[in-house]
């Protein structure tokens, strides 16, 4: 991969965080209480806040006996998952609590902890902070076998309303239930198009299995994937931040929720996905994205992991002719058979305007963007749509530009981009 595909700290701060993030947005992202307010106002699901502690007197005024059986006690401006106590249930005596790490805490412990937080023991630069009690989000059953005593979360980097990269973060024994890579959690790369995990890193090194077990970390399907992506993008829009890391959790009953926002998300996500963030961010920088749904659609078309290598290993290389009959999936899900030319001289696939129109592929939601193309026919503005078709029995999900191909022999040409794992016979 090219060096320029990778996003470093210098570029992240200077080209994206500084440039696209507002002062107000940073204030919102830095304080979990303000994040929660903004999300609530925008109608985006996030864990409920039971109680805020801003003054020491709030501690004595609060009825501690009325605490629910499970909750999380957090500082508003904590760093790196520090200062968080997560209580899972009441102890058998009915007074004390048991944390997710199976430690016993008393009400007095909790009060002292809140005092610490108010004094700024966990905030950056010791600035006085606020503490709050938050709804406990348990582990979704899809992750039960993979996370150790803690709730995994999904970090999604969003730029210009497009989710550009995602990573599932699994707490380990070492990380003490926290989903923070620096504390020893596992980072698992996720395919944006399908929500299936691809590669995993632990302490910056590639791993295949969950440490100490025989459990594969790739191929995990994250449930509700599209909704997770759309919720994350909505959170980015609400925060007014241009470049943002959104941490999502999957509530076992209530579904995807936004846990917190991160103005300067880490860059190890690139290792977990074995892919460069800079290339992806540059790809979407100038696009005009209407809303969350549109942004997710673009991301799925652009950043789908090509499983071509695996296909090649499983099915071998397929030989195709220059002229092939392919099945194009139309807007209403039906298949339409069309003649196509396999064109190794072209990079992108191109489809005829009339065919696309008739198949219902030119709807507003299916058009990703328009772009100025230079071809042998001169300069021309073309729409780019997301397109699914079957070529020689293999499903190919890709993007295609729309052109007037009436004077030409076939309404569809298939470019090199979509020909991985095929061999073209020239006679």
């Amino acid at each position: 991969m090219k060096l320029t595909s990778i996003l470093g700290l210098n570029a992240r701060t200077q080209l994206y965080s500084y440039k696209y993030n507002t002062f107000r947005g940073k204030k919102v992202a830095d304080s979990k209480l303000r994040t929660s307010q903004v999300l609530k106002k925008a109608g985006i699901p996030s864990p409920e806040i039971y109680k805020k502690f801003k003054l020491p007197s709030d501690i004595s005024e609060f009825n501690w006996e009325a605490l629910p059986g499970s909750f999380a006690l957090k500082p508003s401006r904590g760093l790196g998952g520090e200062g968080i106590i997560i209580v899972k249930k009441r102890a058998n005596d009915g007074h004390d609590f048991i944390t997710t790490q199976r430690e016993r805490v008393t009400v007095e412990d909790l009060k002292l902890h809140v005092l610490d937080v108010l004094e700024g023991a966990y905030s950056m630069g010791n600035i006085p902070d606020a503490a709050f009690l938050q709804e406990y989000v348990g582990r979704h059953k899809a992750f039960r076998k993979y996370a150790y005593r803690g709730t995994p979360d999904i970090r999604i980097i969003i730029f210009n309303k497009v989710p550009v990269m995602a990573m599932l973060r699994l707490p380990t024994k070492e990380s003490g239930g926290r989903a923070n890579l620096h504390q020893g959690a596992i980072g698992v790369g996720v395919d944006i198009a399908t929500g299936i995990t691809t590669k995993a890193i632990w302490h910056g090194e590639q791993i295949r299995l969950k440490p100490g077990t025989n459990r594969k970390l790739h191929g995990i399907k994250i449930p509700d994937w599209t909704k997770i992506l759309e919720t994350a993008v909505s959170a980015q829009i609400a925060s007014t931040m241009g470049y943002l890391g959104v941490d999502m959790v999957l509530h076992p009953e209530k579904g995807p929720m936004v846990l917190e926002l991160n103005a300067q998300p880490g860059l190890q996500i690139q290792l977990a996905n074995m892919s460069g963030l800079k290339k992806r961010v540059e790809r979407v920088e100038d696009l005009e994205v209407r809303d969350a749904e549109h942004g997710v659609k673009i991301a799925k078309a652009l950043f789908a992991v090509r499983f071509a290598d695996r296909v090649k290993a499983e099915e071998g290389i397929k030989t195709i002719n220059v002229w092939e009959k392919v099945k194009v999936i139309s807007g209403n899900g039906h298949g339409v058979y069309v003649e196509a030319k396999v064109d190794t001289g072209a990079w992108k696939t191109s489809i005829d305007r009339d065919l696309a129109e008739k198949s219902g592929l030119l709807t507003k939601s299916n058009v990703l963007w328009t772009k100025l193309y230079k071809s042998s026919l001169g300069k021309e503005k073309r729409r780019v749509i997301s397109l699914n078709f079957y070529l020689a029995g293999r499903k190919i999900s890709t993007i295609a530009n729309v052109a007037n191909r009436v004077p030409l022999r076939t309404p569809l040409i298939i470019g090199r981009k979509d020909l991985k794992g095929f061999l073209v016979k020239a006679d």
Partner: protein
Amino acid sequence: MRKLSLIFLLALVGFLASPVNVLARTPSPTPTATASATPMAIPEATARPDITQKTEETLGPLEKLLEEQKLGPVWPLNPIKYAIRSAVDAGVPANTIVLLLLLPVVASVIAAARHIIGIRGFGIFLPAALAVTFVAIGPVVGIGLFLVIVTISMLVRFSLRRLKIKLQYLPRMALLLWWVAVSVLGILFSAPIINNSSLSNVSIFPVLVLILLAEDFSRVQLGKSAKIAVSLTTETLILALVSFIFLTLKPVHEFALLNPEILLGSLFIFNFLLGKYAGLRLMELWKFRKIISS
């Protein structure tokens, strides 16, 4: 009411913050003066009262250098050179001027180490202040004291947490300082046994700076894993040592004193360019080597 208390709070924070800054910042230009005042006056009564051991070695040659340099007209190339001469004639130690001129050099070195190489260190102020402290009390004693203070404060924090001793935050901090002060005292008491001259010459200001720095340092480090804590400490010490070398190299001193305009101008441009650099850092190349080679 709330607004009022906020203003009060702000004033309080400002009040608390400013003396810390002053304390922390003063040693940069003046450690020479403070370090000298106490230890030097006793053994060598004849020595000039405002000069450290360090200055005594270098003052003569530096002044001589100034005398030897031939200067053209004041404008446009020599204004700072003339200003330095008149200040030195008026009794300002040349050493202090050199140290002040070298402070931005040190800051630039630290900034470059972060943005080009990728050595994180701990901010820009801590390594720079450490370097100046090293100049005042010597690198060996400086590193030794720093490590002792960091270790003690981490140990105390760790054991307070382990033993679940429930104290409020500020008394807990005061207790921590109690331990640090006692252990530094212990080291000073052992000076006659170790019989190290630089240890017995230690004055209060460098020690105070060390305690303040180590405090901040251990507080932030405690949240991180032991591995990160160790690497952050080493990186900070490496940066401080490199800065220390810059602060003590004779050719650097001479260049700064004789060409202050060139030095300050080029530093300005260098930092401007550095601030615009958006490429990968050397250590990131290593971190992402597997993606790059794939």
